[in-house]
Point group: C2
Chain length 498, copies 2
């Protein structure tokens, strides 16, 4: 069997190289490329994408997977080789179901819709966007029809980002979360505080220096990573030893240090994948939710904790004397953990963020099920938003038009953000049960044991197992909202009580 | 015929996209990539290279070229379409002659030899490098055997960089040049001057600012270009509107401003290729020598001219007060045009540089012809070097081991450097005959008319014609050393006389 396996592996390595090259071309385009290069770069990325796709869905790969079924059975389920065959089979069967014409039509529609969406958002003109949204939904329905064996259509969309996750499971988790969150936020979201100092000034250079100071403590190192500027921060990589983080700075906003921690979480995950998986399709974080659990772990659970600031706050004050020289740590801590309903998802606090997501998750299911007339979507959005968050949406720019996702047909992605929050606390409780003095370590500016634990239990696995199998191995059970609810109640309750 | 042509063009666009992606991956690797990324990046570049090569030498392209022979005949020879078919046929027939095994063996040998060469150079140990050089030469002989129809074996090597150029032609041009240069340098190279101020200090930040100040005047613009730091400066691009220049700075050396002008020349050439050739294999400068003619044009003919410094010197003094605040322009001009034999090619002045090249050109022919025992190469190098440049070579690190080219099998490349010098002056004489007041324009800091002329007559053509056809179209004749000899004699004679 070894020759077939070697053949499969070398074909997958070639495809993986093309995919990683695409990732660097994308990074370059958004971080480095002169503006004139856009048209040609788009063509280059499309070419690499098409070649990688053609090579992957080839009959040769299908035949090799068939030939290797027996070899896979002989192997230990947990071995790299068995995992590679198993995961590739799942990827291949999925990729094979979507006709090239439909895939191309979806890509084209997304490209067409993007600029229209941006214009509609800027001009608060939902009617302009509506035909593109209708087309995106229609294409997505045709996409769903390519598959079978699902419980409900939305399962298919979810599976693209969270393989194996069922809509019913997410619904249950989100219902649990919503039942707790809505009253909690109604209660706590009314607490006011004098956060005016948060407008800065926060000198840009100092933000850059301080961001690096923090993430170096987390494990960021220039020997395998960079931090650069972009408009919409993201993390990318060309391999475990070449991690690209991006961030942005604004003089009146200190969000950048949390952005750096967030992207660092993504980066440490990719960096920690086992070197034995390099140049295979397993060399990535396993799913959107697990990935987001790590960005949120480092940004929120670590970076917004009191023990973290017990260590950093004195040097933070020294770095930003004009903004926080006279602000005591408690006041700063309250400000960065303030719960306050607001309209824009990406600016939302740790708690209300989830209600933004739950709203979208519900609407996406109804849209796919056809129970919503898309013409009525803004009215439905606004009514439900006020129900959950308690504030009336003034216009569609601050409402249904705010996110890019739907313009590109990206239904099914939103829930993974909140699933990431939920999983982050499940993992945190598990680590803490094994290393109870982590908060004391944070107070000393030490994050190495947390990083090591996460790397050895989670990061190293890459895509060897399904997200559910991975979570089972890391925390010993399935996804569960209870720890996250406890965490929010404890943290926010303490803030409300003090 | 149109469907076949469209098919050919779209296949070539795909291959071109892969090649350009490789170029950006290379730029990224040398300019941006964290050091840990090297191994995986090497694999990525190799994969893209292999796929591009396989797609190019495919029988489908061969068949399309056959089908299009009639269509090509119907077209105007100068049209983009005819040029694309004609140039592709030449490239395809060449690429087809080299067996994949030999190509792979050459690539592998080059990779193996590189580090050994670097160690041999560092340790002045020619014996260590010798077996790798022997292997490179043997492989290159096998490479030559893949071709026929040449006058002498070296023609094949030269053709890789200067398509259609014959060794006999280069020999004639170089003999003319050598006959004039050796006595001129013996005469002028003995003139001493007090150039101690050239050791600086030249503050790094000011070098960066001043480099940009100059090349912006030449036409560099951030809308389509970048300037970044690297170890060995080069220019790359992913298209005409995405040009990447690189440079380096040393506190005790102001070479960087000439490096910036040099790389800007390469960049302006790539930027100026006709937009109609974008995403085709014609979207590049036509040959190494023509490319070098443009880097030398902007670096030497423009950047080391008195009229250029008549404009820039006051602001240059203001930018570097510690180094040149007390140095008058005439003294500075003499220093940057000093002719002085030295051992290292890349550090050589404008005049002696050519003798470094002629030495290598002669030795390469003798090596390929087998008339040199490679064991004797250092002794032969040293004797010939002293004959041409008048100074004895102290060791092989400063002699035969200094260049990377031979370790990678890069025989045939060296002559293009001097051919570039020669062609640069042929073109300069032609421009000057049409725009006689260019020096006066330079004195005003105006370079736009020169740039426009070069773009409209040369850059726009890309690879539509052979290098010879291109030169014929630009200057109205073949390559000719006489203008370059006149230029050097005039310029250096004036310096000697004054």
């Amino acid at each position: 069997m070894q020759p077939s396996f070697d053949d499969l592996k070398s074909r997958l390595a070639e495809i993986h190289d093309l995919r990683r090259a695409q990732e660097i071309l994308f990074w370059d385009q958004t971080v480095m490329m002169p503006p004139g290069g856009g048209a040609v770069r788009g063509a280059q990325v499309t070419t690499l994408d098409r070649i990688a796709h053609e090579k992957f869905i080839s009959d040769e790969i299908g035949t090799l997977l068939e030939q290797l079924a027996g070899y896979e059975q002989e192997l230990d389920y947990d071995s790299d080789d068995a995992s590679l065959i198993r995961t590739t089979r799942r990827d291949w069967e999925k990729a094979h179901r979507v006709p090239a014409d439909l895939a191309a039509e979806m890509t084209g529609a997304a490209a067409d819709a993007h600029d229209v969406w941006a214009k509609a958002r800027a001009e608060n003109d939902y009617a302009l966007f509506l035909p593109h949204l209708e087309r995106a939904v229609e294409l997505k329905r045709r996409y769903v029809e390519c598959f079978d064996g699902y419980d409900e259509p939305y399962d298919v969309l979810l599976d693209d980002f969270e393989p194996g996750m069922k809509t019913a499971e997410v619904r249950q988790v989100f219902d649990d979360l919503k039942a707790e969150l809505v009253p909690l936020i109604a209660d706590i979201g009314s607490i006011e505080g004098d956060d005016a100092f948060m407008d800065g000034p926060w000198p840009i250079d100092a933000q850059g220096d301080y961001s690096l100071k923090i993430i170096r403590r987390f494990g960021f190192d220039e020997s395998f990573a960079r931090l650069d500027l972009t408009v919409h921060p993201f993390a990318a990589s060309s391999g475990t030893q070449d991690i690209r983080l991006t961030t942005r700075y604004k003089e009146d906003d200190i969000t950048s240090i949390f952005t750096a921690m967030h992207e660092c979480g993504h980066g440490l995950y990719e960096h920690g994948v086992s070197p034995s998986l390099e140049r295979t399709p397993l060399c990535h974080g396993v799913s959107s939710a697990l990935h987001e659990s790590q960005s949120r772990m480092w940004e929120n659970i670590v970076g917004r904790s009191m023990s973290f600031w017990n260590h950093f706050y004195p040097s933070f004050q020294a770095a930003f004397p004009e903004a926080v020289g006279d602000v005591d740590q408690d006041r700063f801590y309250r400000a960065i953990n303030r719960v306050k309903p607001s309209f824009i998802r990406v600016d939302a606090d740790e708690a209300t963020y989830n209600l933004h997501i739950i709203l979208r998750f519900e609407l996406e299911q109804e849209i796919m099920a056809g129970t919503i007339d898309l013409k009525e979507l803004p009215a439905i959005w606004n009514a439900r938003f006020e129900e959950y968050l308690g504030i009336p949406v003034p216009n569609d720019t601050l409402g249904v038009l705010q996110d890019v996702h739907w313009s590109g047909g990206g239904f099914g992605y939103f829930p993974t953000y909140s699933l990431g929050n939920i999983i982050s606390v499940q993992i945190w409780e598990k680590v803490l049960s094994e290393i109870p003095d982590l908060p004391e370590q944070f107070e000393q500016g030490e994050f190495g044991q947390l990083h090591d634990w996460l790397r050895d239990r989670l990061y190293t696995l890459g895509r060897k197992f399904t997200p559910q199998e991975t979570l089972q191995r890391v925390v010993g059970g399935p996804i569960d909202a209870a720890p996250y609810v406890r965490y929010l109640k404890d943290k926010l309750g303490a803030l409300a009580a003090a």
